[in-house]
Assembly symmetry: C2
Homo-oligomer: 211 residues x 2
């Protein structure tokens, strides 16, 4: 009986290592490049007018604007950083850790919208410069889900899960945050450091390993 | 009995999720920046003389040289790339995927030394330029181990294991290659993309989750 138990345990461990193909639940992974969200006031000061939509993003209502800014940190600048719309109540800058080192800004890992106590930075636009006092973050990886997806995956809003990439350099992202809304479409968002660590390519997918 | 088995299986699965603290086997993680290994001939052509040791590396006999080169790819250049010594039988350039995009070189994931069919690049030194026909790789993450470590971890040379970082953005690196030699000191090597994906800091460690 001992042997039988050990054999069962070994099999369970083996199955835990890789997702069972019979129960494979994949999630498309999108790579977010560095970008900024701006308040109405900052849009006005940087561009002298409102944002122009360049193309819609996968999450309904969100769009990439025609406008870009230059980020100016104590150690370096990054030009051509895309503004995403629509306007938000406060401005926020999302960079990768690689970007943060280049700018010389100690950006902490945060969920979008949670910017209290984070460092500031200067933004340069064609019509002016804005210095924000806080708002520079490295966005924690997260999964947008419709309530129907959440039910299918057996998870709830704010749950943290592990996602294993199916790419050529497979990586598991622990502490990936689930965000559920009936406005969301199923998609995981990672930054370029995470994408490059995993060798993600277009059409990348992840597997939810443990709900 | 069925219940007893299921309970054991559940416990084994729970333990597989996170390393048991009682059996925690940690491995120091070192971050390798982009670097080149050069043949005697290329050292001569680039610098007009042999390498000067700047400081020893953690693996016995290896050193960072005073010398650096500029990598010149079809899309960009990266200056100040460290040469590691001693000389090797053939030259090899190890970059991150981020670097590879910047240079415009489609560097594949390879173990060091396995460069057949990989792309080439130009190297500029103070005394001359060298164009290598192949040798640009993204180094697969790996763990140097002394045979005593291998025995303690229950692994063998060329095994592939999963290492979970203990950092603030925890990531598991699957397919990490074990390399055993009595010349090696226990250390995992990752590149900057992997380090930044995991938010690794000085003194970073990984835990071998499943041998």
């Amino acid at each position: 009986m001992r042997e039988q138990i050990e054999s069962l345990v070994r099999e369970a461990l083996r199955n835990a290592e890789k997702p069972a193909s019979s129960n494979r639940m994949t999630i498309p992974i999108a790579v977010s490049n560095r970008h900024v969200h701006l308040s109405e006031e900052h849009i006005k000061r940087l561009f002298g007018r409102g944002l122009k939509e360049k193309k819609p993003l996968s999450q309904p209502g969100q769009f990439a604007a025609e406008e870009t800014v230059t980020l100016i940190g104590p150690k370096g600048k990054i030009p051509g950083v895309r503004v995403l719309g629509p306007a938000r109540s406060s401005s926020q800058v999302e960079v990768s850790r690689t970007d943060a080192f280049q700018l010389g800004v100690d950006a902490p890992l945060r969920l979008s919208g949670n910017t209290e106590g984070t460092p500031g930075i200067k933004l340069q636009g064609p019509r002016g410069q804005v210095e924000i006092k806080e708002g520079v973050i490295v966005a924690a990886c997260h999964i947008h889900m419709h309530p129907e997806d959440a039910s299918r995956f057996g998870v709830a809003d704010q749950d943290r899960v592990t996602i294993r990439s199916t790419s050529s350099r497979p990586v598991s992202f622990h502490d990936t945050v689930i965000r559920v809304s009936d406005k969301f479409r199923l998609e995981m968002h990672v930054d370029f450091d995470e994408a490059n660590a995993a060798f993600l390519t277009a059409g990348a997918e992840g597997v939810l390993i443990r709900p």
